[in-house]
Symmetry: C2
Subunit: 459 residues, 2 copies
């Protein structure tokens, strides 16, 4: 709709000057995330620098009924930033100040546009780190908004656990602090957790207080190949059940290893692998590793191949983190279709094995990777979203996979969120829950201006 929101855009321009963009290149850049979902451009893109500017922006949008779409780094997987209902993309990248680091409390407060790598770079000298690590260098705000996790979640938890407090701008511009920096609190409803995972549909996260962790005295990473996916998964399950506080335990099946070798120049054997990491004191790391090595041997795993120095370890995890890009690169001009189920770990082996059987019926390569210590795994085909026949095939595979996970007592998304892609699955998973979510959405954003069309539909 050309000319829509003309007055709103004028007012925004008065507020932000050059930090209100309407060029088609900038709009197109904000029309999509890293997924296969079809792009949809916003009418304009705002680049606020402060919480109070975000609040002013919201007041203007509210007055003119202009949808607001928070934008972090656009790396998400369910089309959450796409302007499917038009409106204003609010790009948080200039809100990238680290406001405070309190080493005595092992926490920090940052603006939402700070990325996880920027934060860890800043923290390194102080002997602390922020553990949540989606493969992409995502913004902390986007990570909170999607309840993201990554390879470290098995030990350190997800964004749900990492966030102490948020400052959020509501649809009407009100600024809300959700909590204090205290480690725990029973002070009323858990607003912090309500906004974590709300994907920009309840408010715009502007500032975030985060728990940090001491960089462990010793870190050891290793790679272990298995003759079968079962062997790898059973090693994982036994490790978790023995209570070993492993820091990372990642599955890559043979197809995934293949994509990684091609993209990252590694030469792992064409077999299922576990990528592992142990954190602790020297002695404690050695003890953990020896327990897991024994379990791996019992499950026909190879010798551990250690990445002992920092560079080797960084390279190992960069290869793992780049996996989605590696999968995409297996085919020219492809987009990523990442499934994301998570099941109770007792169901993991069966769920993955049935999925592998299902994959055999598919005409394309469908590599599997997983944060398997949490029961979370991704099947990641590279797709051509414009190829309808192919998308239909993949859609029906996806539906089967999610039904498999739901009937195993699992969830349709372990970490990527609902976005526009999984609203129907959310309703299958939590039929009565969705009604409560809609009631909350309606109460907090009655005009449906915050990222409309995502997570739940109201009005």
């Amino acid at each position: 709709m050309p000319g829509a929101f003309t007055v709103a855009i004028q007012e925004l321009q008065e507020l932000l000057g050059e930090r209100l963009e309407t060029s088609s290149s900038v709009r197109q850049h904000h029309a999509h995330d890293e997924s296969f979902h079809l792009p949809a451009s916003p009418e304009a893109v705002a680049f606020p620098k402060s919480t109070s500017e975000v609040s002013e922006i919201a007041r203007i949008c509210m007055r003119h009924h202009m949808p607001m779409l928070p934008f972090g780094t656009g790396t998400a997987m369910e089309g959450g930033v796409n302007a499917s209902h038009g409106g204003l993309s609010i790009d948080m990248s200039l809100m990238n100040n680290i406001l405070s680091v309190t080493s005595e409390d092992m926490d920090c407060t940052v603006q939402a546009g700070v990325t996880r790598k920027q934060l860890n770079e800043h923290l390194r000298d102080q002997g602390m780190f922020f553990p949540i690590d989606p493969g992409a260098d995502a913004s902390v705000g986007g990570m909170a908004a999607t309840r993201a996790s990554g390879t470290n979640a098995v030990r350190y938890g997800t964004m749900r656990d990492a966030v102490l407090a948020l400052t959020v701008v509501m649809a009407d511009g009100k600024i809300v602090k959700t909590s204090s920096r205290a480690r725990k609190s029973a002070a009323g409803y858990d607003l912090t957790r309500l906004f974590i995972g709300s994907e920009g549909t309840l408010g715009i996260i502007c500032e975030i207080s985060l728990r940090l962790h001491a960089i462990p005295e010793a870190i050891s990473a290793a790679v272990c190949a298995f003759g079968s996916v079962e062997g790898a998964i059973n090693t994982v399950i036994e490790t978790i059940q023995m209570g070993v506080p492993i820091a990372r335990i990642e599955l890559l099946d043979a197809a995934a290893i293949n994509a990684v070798n091609q993209y990252s120049g590694t030469d792992y054997p064409f077999l299922p692998h576990l990528f592992l990491e142990f954190h602790g004191t020297q002695a404690w790391v050695a003890e953990q590793a020896s327990i897991v090595k024994e379990l791996a041997v019992e499950n026909q795993g190879s010798e551990f191949q250690w990445a002992s120095n920092t560079e080797d370890r960084t390279a190992l995890w960069q290869a793992r983190h780049d996996f989605a890009y590696a999968a995409r690169a297996t085919r020219p001009n492809a987009r990523i279709f990442s499934t994301d189920v998570c099941v109770p770990i007792s169901q993991l082996a069966q769920c993955i094995l049935e999925t592998i059987t299902d994959i055999k019926s598919m005409p394309m390569s469908m590599p599997i990777v997983g944060h398997v210590g949490d029961g979370n795994f991704h099947v990641v085909p590279a797709v051509d979203p414009e190829n309808e026949a192919e998308m239909l095939l993949i859609d029906s595979f996806h539906t089967r996979l999610i039904h498999r996970a739901l009937s195993a007592g699992g969830t349709c998304t372990g970490e990527h969120g609902i976005g526009q892609g999984k609203k129907a699955f959310l309703a299958e998973e939590l039929p009565a829950g969705v009604d409560i979510m809609k009631t909350i959405k309606h109460a907090l954003d009655p005009d449906n201006l915050m990222n409309p069309g995502k997570v739940v539909d109201i009005n």
Copy 2:
């Protein structure tokens, strides 16, 4: 109001038979928790046995505008169960079935009336335990409702972390499942966390899936006396900052030790103490303990007095858990007034020391205990709620303490909740947040029937 809700009570009687009680002794028993808040009897008490019965009860209450007050074991500290607006107390004690334990997933699903000791008794043979331990043998539903924690929270987290999923009955009788049993999920708004800490004001928690933990190979508990409270607190702060995953680290000041000695027959020296516990493998426990021992020595702590066998350890922690009763027993017919602030740990020493100075100006004994690894501590005078002058003095002390905690970036309640006692403090702590809470309460319980007058006031 005699005769109020006569028709509702008749209908409830038809539904529940003898499990609907109107005798004054039963009503009086449900008129209060363990705190100083003045009792207020409900018109009747229901003892449901199933989620569907709770749903039927809610439908009846909704039709007749009868307030519903969930009741766990009545051990809470802010008058949350008191029928300040009249209504029906819904006692969950007959909903005490352990529905399933899945040892492969280290989780279980229980009815809300199961108590923490009952659950741990049941789990012991399976090598698992449930770590959240308020001093009292509280119900798991009440613990979820208050976002409770206890001595183990520094290692294992609070009810926020322990709960995987809930089944909740809403004010209108709808039954809502909030999540799956998967370890993590990004499926929509975090309804689980919304109900945890909602103190019966948003719905009645009927079933709960909980994370469990493997009973560690080795457990060592110790007691260490200090010449000063500072020495004890500094030991705690340094332990946390070094990243030692200590399982328990509890402060008792000299006055608290005195109360414990009298109540539990122990003979600890009249000095501030830390009670400590380490969990892990043999080697790892030894390593942790030696690190903390060194820190204690540097802070002028005594030798560690070890409680090595299970009985000694149980006795040690029972004495700690009974502390609130010990404090009450220091004075005949007294009630417990437990303050409950929690601050960032960097502020803990100063906050406690200023509080000790403040206590010196008070005419009564005011022992201090604390889950200090979390920055959470309680000052627990035994009071006579009918003595107005005394209550005024204590109230003003309490206000000063909370203002001290809030200005240190802390919270007015670390674990006990808001109940009827702290609504004004909640509004001071999170002024804009309270408006959001009210909006949510209004949306989910428009007739204000769920535990009215607690946490937030609407209508």
